[in-house]
Point group: none
Chain length 216, copies 2
């Protein structure tokens, strides 16, 4: 049965839990020998078998012959384990994004990381996600304030009305993406800020998918 083939035994749940936990706390997946050691298996084949079953059932992926390439897949329902938490991703926070994009300039000791589970923000784990600390109040008209954290995804196709981060004057700026009469430009959501009509090419660094604001 299908429902049968997806259900996990107790042992398999333990193994999956261990792999998830290691990935989350250590940042890297455990090796098969580490799995065996953790459960006291005297043979790593035991671990390998469990991993094989978990892969067959769709809970894990791996790349063959590649060390520590186990990856827990986000799965909708685990009937045995009702409280499954989605995959936690670490989103790097940039104070401002210079031209190189992957570039990081060291800001004055800010915390550089936001950790959230993918479902909370509704982000796709495949695309490159980053956070940008909002500077200024050019987007107040869309209720994005100075000091907010904008969560953006790189490599997404912006749709008209989306908030995007674009590179203007070597500074990453948030603006609304507008498309009208076949022309695209960027609109500031504050009367005192100018719109931006690109001279030639529009460099979109990311499309805004979520916002985080801290109070107090």
């Amino acid at each position: 049965m299908n429902s049968m083939s997806l259900s996990l035994t107790h042992r398999q749940q333990e193994v999956l839990g261990f792999i998830r936990e290691q990935q989350q706390t250590q940042g890297t997946a455990p090796s098969l020998r580490e799995v065996a050691a953790h459960f006291g298996f005297r043979s790593m084949t035991a671990a390998a078998d469990h991993v094989k079953a978990l892969r067959r059932k769709g809970y894990l992926t791996h790349r063959p012959h590649q060390a520590r390439s186990l990856r827990a897949l986000p799965l909708a329902v685990d009937t045995h384990h009702p409280v499954e938490r989605g995959r936690i991703v670490d989103i790097p926070v940039y104070g401002s994004i210079p031209a190189g994009f992957a570039d990081d300039r060291r800001q004055e000791g800010r915390e550089g990381c936001i950790s959230v589970d993918v479902e909370t923000l509704g982000i796709s784990p495949s695309s490159r996600t980053f956070a940008l600390e909002v500077r200024g109040n050019s987007m107040e008209g869309r209720h994005i304030l100075n000091g907010d954290y904008a969560i953006l995804e790189h490599g997404m196709d912006p749709r008209p009305g989306d908030v995007v981060a674009a590179l203007i004057d070597n500074e990453s700026t948030l603006k609304t993406f507008v498309k009208q009469h076949g022309k695209t430009w960027l609109k500031a959501e504050n009367p005192s800020y100018p719109d931006f009509i690109p001279a030639q090419e529009l460099v979109i660094q990311g499309v805004m998918v979520a916002l985080i604001r801290k109070y107090r």
Copy 2:
């Protein structure tokens, strides 16, 4: 020099960016040979040297002799202490908070949970934290929109100007906490909504500490 020892060369930034990207998109860190291959190095020592430099400067950690154990650190303070990710907390989301408060009726398949690390939202793990899906636009004046998730902490002393969730007409509502001339009341941040002057006792369910908004 300190500022010197922490600054990255262009090449080092590229390498760090590649490692970050691989870790995020692939789920596992690249091996040294993969780094070398990506940049066209004919020797893996080139990659190893860059990684060594990045480790020395505090941008990476690894566990010796362990495959794919590279870990990009959040742009951290100079404590060469490996920066741990904060504790992940699961915050229950209420569509509306009934009178009993701790009452958990209807858990229905909706996303009833937000998982974030404590530092991202700046919450204290001791107090009870919950999330409230914002209904209506009574707080638009403070840039809190319909559909936003308000993160609140129970058992906090509200200070004047804080946004709080209070129980009004058996419904949990967000308002601004105001104290003037020794009297306290709740102010709506939208002209079309009434202020609330408590008849006798003000039941504050939580003080707003953060906000999460999803786009698209």
